[in-house]
């Protein structure tokens, strides 16, 4: 269990985490989502006792991380898979961390086998691919067989097979009753892995909900209509209580009438319809709705010269 309570973290004038409160419960894979720069990594670092909070608290299994004795038995984490001394072999790397928590060589061999690294454990990690480093990080996280696990962007650098493997890995951990928090900036990734989502933007909580509820909550649900006599049809649909938006290419985005009703209405008045497409929101859309306002560094669409009012 991870409990974050009114957490604030400032770096000078920059507020990275701004009053965040949430609880990560056992038995689920919880997705920790937000655009780059939203404060995910900072929050995880505070939970791990690496960064001191400006105010508020973060607790793991009802304790503050800094007070944990042999914390690897309580929390396993992978924050940055590339944070390795390249000159060391994988086996020596894992062993050195295991020893600090009184974990023996047998368990070191076990986690290397679990992550499929056993045949390459004697190689220096500078020769490892990013995917292998991710597996190495998972091996370290699993050393103490902890009830709580945290992974920061674990999918980065994995190939398709690796992604499928890691998804099953997370689900299996949660099924064993563990608390699993997985961060990502990609909604599409989380949609297939997480059953609960904590969405943040600019250090604030935007949503703390199940994945299914988040999709339902999205307002984007409409019917796309293409018709040569679009203007005429728009007037008829508006009269039936629909809200009609004309899109850039002349198509109509209709809410308030379903596709069948639009088709019937057009037929009644002899208006040809070239396309009639019901559109439902994807999780990606729901995510964009939530975070659209909170992206830290947004690419600016160039404005033609002269269009800018002075």
């Amino acid at each position: 269990m991870i409990e974050v309570d009114h957490l604030v973290k400032r770096f000078g004038a920059v507020t990275a985490v701004d009053g965040l409160t949430f609880t990560v419960r056992p038995g689920h894979v919880t997705g920790f989502l937000g655009p780059n720069g939203a404060g995910k990594t900072t929050t995880m670092r505070v939970i791990m006792g690496l960064d001191a909070p400006t105010s508020g608290t973060a607790r793991v299994n009802q304790r503050s991380y800094a007070t944990l004795i042999r914390p690897l038995h309580q929390v396993g984490a992978l924050l940055d898979a590339t944070a390795l001394d390249g000159g060391r072999t994988a086996a020596a790397h894992v062993l050195s961390i295991a020893q600090s928590n009184g974990i023996g060589r047998r368990r070191v061999a076990e986690v290397l086998r679990l992550t499929g690294l056993e045949p390459v454990a004697g190689r220096r990690v500078k020769d490892y691919s990013l995917g292998m480093k991710q597996r190495l990080g998972l091996a370290v996280a699993m050393l103490g067989d902890p009830p709580t696990l945290m992974f920061d962007e674990p999918v980065n650098g994995l190939d398709t097979e690796g992604i499928a493997w890691i998804r099953q890995f997370f689900k299996a951990l949660a099924a064993e009753g563990r608390t699993v928090l997985v961060s990502s900036h990609l909604m599409s990734e989380m949609a297939q892995t997480a059953d609960h989502l904590i969405v943040i933007g600019r250090g604030r909580l935007l949503a703390d909900t199940s994945t299914a509820e988040l999709i339902d909550s999205s307002t984007r649900r409409d019917v796309l209509v293409r018709a040569p006599r679009a203007a005429e049809l728009a007037v008829l649909m508006t009269a039936r209580g629909a809200t009609v938006h004309r899109e850039d290419d002349g198509a109509l985005a209709v809410t308030g009438l379903d596709a069948a009703a639009v088709g019937d209405l057009a037929a009644e008045h002899g208006i040809a319809v070239h396309a009639l497409i019901p559109r439902t929101a994807s999780l990606e859309d729901a995510y964009l709705d939530l975070t659209g306002e909170s992206v830290e560094y947004r690419a600016v669409t160039p404005v033609p010269e002269g269009a800018v009012s002075r």
Binding site: G49, P71, H73, L79, A83, D85, G87, I97, S100, N101
Partner: protein
């Protein structure tokens, strides 16, 4: 917080005694220390270069013209430590700086939230290994130098009054430098910065010795170079601290730096 599935029970474990935890962190740092190649190369440089350079210095000193002031028989082995000190100081800095530059320090501190224990363990491992290396170098260079000097009737034997103490003290210079490196690596969190700091703390205060008498000696006796010189000389200078007090000065440098490192290491974000 209701109706959530029963959490996996946190492994019930009695908190192990502090001695066990200290031994674990030491074992961890020992594994880190011995599992990188730079350790081997640094120790090789630290042991081999002083022996070679002692030969040269001893030859140069023993061929001084007749009537030149007599040299301290310990001087060649003291001078020969230059390169070893540099290599060992760098290795000391790297104990922390490589972990900070790679980000590995977060894994380390996540595994051992008691950061001062990490500092102490790194210092203990680095200090112990460099002490052994330092004493090997001190005795090896002593015998090489005396073999050469004795052919010019300048040498002394280990049984000469003060010789054994001077050789043992000579062996302390490497661990002193290594431990300053460990502390400065933790403070600067940067390899180049740490090395610059080690070199600066050794060399810059030495300029104090150039002050007008009696100030040169009064301030100079607090510097590393003069303190090291006093404890390793058979004929210590009269205007500096006595060897015993100079030994305290010599050991105080790394001690104070490690203390400062212990203060800042818990206050900063990793």
């Amino acid at each position: 917080m209701t109706a959530s599935p029963a959490p996996a029970p946190a492994r019930a474990q009695a908190s192990p005694p502090i001695a066990v935890r200290a031994r674990d962190v030491l074992a961890s740092e020992w594994t880190k220390f011995r599992s990188v190649r730079s350790t081997f190369w640094t120790l090789l440089v630290a042991v081999v270069t002083p022996i070679g350079s002692t030969l040269l210095v001893a030859v140069a000193l023993s061929s001084q013209p007749r009537g030149a002031p007599p040299i301290d028989p310990m001087l060649p082995i003291f001078i020969s430590l230059d390169y070893a000190v540099l290599a060992i100081g760098v290795r000391g800095v790297m104990a922390f700086s490589t972990e900070y530059s790679t980000g590995l320090i977060r894994t380390t501190f996540a595994a051992v939230p008691h950061r001062r224990a990490v500092l102490a363990a790194k210092a203990a491992v680095t200090g112990a290994v460099t002490l052994v290396a330092g004493e090997i170098v001190a005795f090896a260079t002593f015998f090489v130098a005396q073999a050469l000097l004795s052919s010019h009737h300048l040498g002394v034997s280990l049984s000469h009054p003060g010789a054994l103490g001077a050789v043992l003290a000579d062996g302390l210079i490497l661990p002193v430098t290594a431990l300053m490196g460990v502390g400065l690596g933790a403070i600067t969190r940067h390899t180049a910065g740490g090395i610059a700091a080690v070199v600066a703390l050794i060399i810059l205060p030495a300029t104090l010795a150039l002050l007008r008498p009696p100030w040169g000696g009064r301030l100079g006796r607090f510097t590393l170079l003069d303190a090291a010189h006093q404890v390793t000389a058979l004929h210590p200078a009269a205007d500096l601290f006595a060897p015993a007090l100079s030994l305290v000065v010599l050991l105080a440098w790394p001690a104070l730096i490690l203390l400062a490192a212990g203060l800042v290491i818990t206050r900063r974000d990793a």
